[in-house]
Assembly symmetry: C2
Homo-oligomer: 290 residues x 2
């Protein structure tokens, strides 16, 4: 079993980007600028945004965090998005999801200018991804593709089962893995809550990508010997033994699954850092396109 | 075995739309207007466009065909598209594909205003489809969904294998069948030329949707007893015994497959008329949105 080290791999990507930023600086040019909008006080969201800012600092991007109150109205957030769309100094921005319940998430996604949509969530970018056109790929699927690529994992002709059909992970993941590309060219099955014979289906997977948000859902009896297992899940579970009071648990029962796998990611240092690295790649791309 | 009668089903849809057009006329209102751009002299394309015009006439839509020479430049076609985008009198339009080789198909698709893109090919509409937002669904996948719906075929939890991963049929079909909707909620596998064990995979399908453009590719040994088989393929094969000099052949070996199926479409009167009906539905929607 080999652990897919998202921390090391994302470090490599960050160094590659940092080298490009240094070239820009040496040439006296402006550096890329990412903004993040954070509405409310969700602990996980605050943490994600803090990490994204740290990433920017490390590689030499400018970053701005816009904090908005828990009670922010939809109108106020849309006005802020409009402002960022027009802000010449910002190359790309994200609105950290989820947003509080008084705000319609779809309206948020639709309001972001596709040229600055570095999360790759807006229809035009999703459509470009489907059509194989230049786009901002959704960060998590793109991070997973990078991980497969940098570990040179063969995907062509393999059976890839994607557990979960969400807009931001499962569905784009399935599309990317089925494309005529490398990685890609896999035979892809999209499975979800209505899937019958889920165990049997998972056992038929050469590559199993799990993004359903159910802690330790995938058990050893669901994994084929030699499979590649990618765990996207990350749920905070209370844990009094930790200073933080919680620990992150994945969708895969790592301890019991790992020895059956050829490659596997762990909940920490796996997909998460790759997702963050993708955001930086997209921000650089947004900068370059202008 | 029951034949899925796309002719009858599309007739029903056309009658529903015609009733709405009559209401518009009775209220003294303008009727929907579809335009089709036809570049060159491809026989099949001319035939498709002629049928689309006939459909419009039958249900009371206005229609316009713009014929352009085989040697039309990309620039000329893009200028025509720009004109149609701005034409207040046109609710929706299509550019009949394929276009001659001197024209980049992607540029054509990207040039069409998404609000008039009744083929549902442009990135914004494809992305909306992926995200489950209001859109113009690509005509063939939408036609197949209508066929499944009107025959009340159970899809939830079924294994649907889609053979082919094209932008306009295979990929959107896979996405729609995997959605939390009715029809939908199927476990979907996207298979293609790189798929290993294709026979075995097809045999595991409760619903088999074939769109690969290889005549009579799916043989009886690839179909499970009781399966639903949808044949999207339509290839012109020379046939001297016909007045036209050709006959249409599907991707499925209909004669030998049909008796194993619970439901099946035939190459003629199957998916084709449903695709055309979808175009009319999209045109009506484009009209209503304005």
């Amino acid at each position: 079993m080999q652990l897919l080290d998202g921390t090391a791999c994302s470090q490599q990507i960050r160094q590659e980007i940092a080298a490009q930023v240094n070239e820009l600086k040496a040439a006296g040019k402006r550096v890329p600028h990412l903004a993040a909008v954070l509405v409310g006080n969700d602990g996980a969201s605050q943490n994600y945004v803090a990490m994204k800012v740290r990433d920017c600092e490390e590689i030499g991007f400018n970053s701005t965090v816009i904090r908005m109150d828990e009670n922010t109205s939809e109108e106020e957030l849309l006005a802020k998005i409009d402002e960022l769309n027009k802000d010449e100094d910002i190359d790309g921005f994200i609105v950290q999801l989820p947003v509080p319940p008084q705000i319609d998430e779809n309206k948020v996604i639709l309001a972001i200018d596709s040229a600055k949509d570095v999360d790759g969530f807006c229809p035009e970018n999703v459509g470009n991804m489907c059509l194989g056109l230049p786009t901002f790929l959704s960060a998590t699927p793109n991070g997973i593709m990078e991980l497969l690529k940098r570990y040179d994992i063969e995907t062509e002709g393999k059976h890839c089962v994607v557990l979960g059909r969400s807009n931001i992970v499962g569905t784009p993941m399935a599309i990317l893995m089925s494309r005529n590309s490398k990685p890609g060219n896999a035979t892809v099955t999209i499975a979800h809550s209505r899937t019958a014979n889920l165990k049997e289906l998972c056992r038929s997977a050469d590559i199993l990508i799990v993004a359903i948000g159910k802690t330790e859902f995938v058990t050893a009896d669901m994994v084929k010997e030699g499979a590649v297992v990618i765990d996207v899940g990350q749920t905070r579970v209370p844990d009094d033994s930790r200073k933080s009071g919680f620990r992150n648990v994945g969708d895969v029962d790592f301890e019991n699954v790992k020895d059956k796998c050829s490659y596997i990611t762990f909940v920490t240092g796996g997909v998460g850092p790759m997702t963050r690295a993708s955001l930086l790649q997209n921000t650089l791309k947004a900068y370059q396109r202008r």
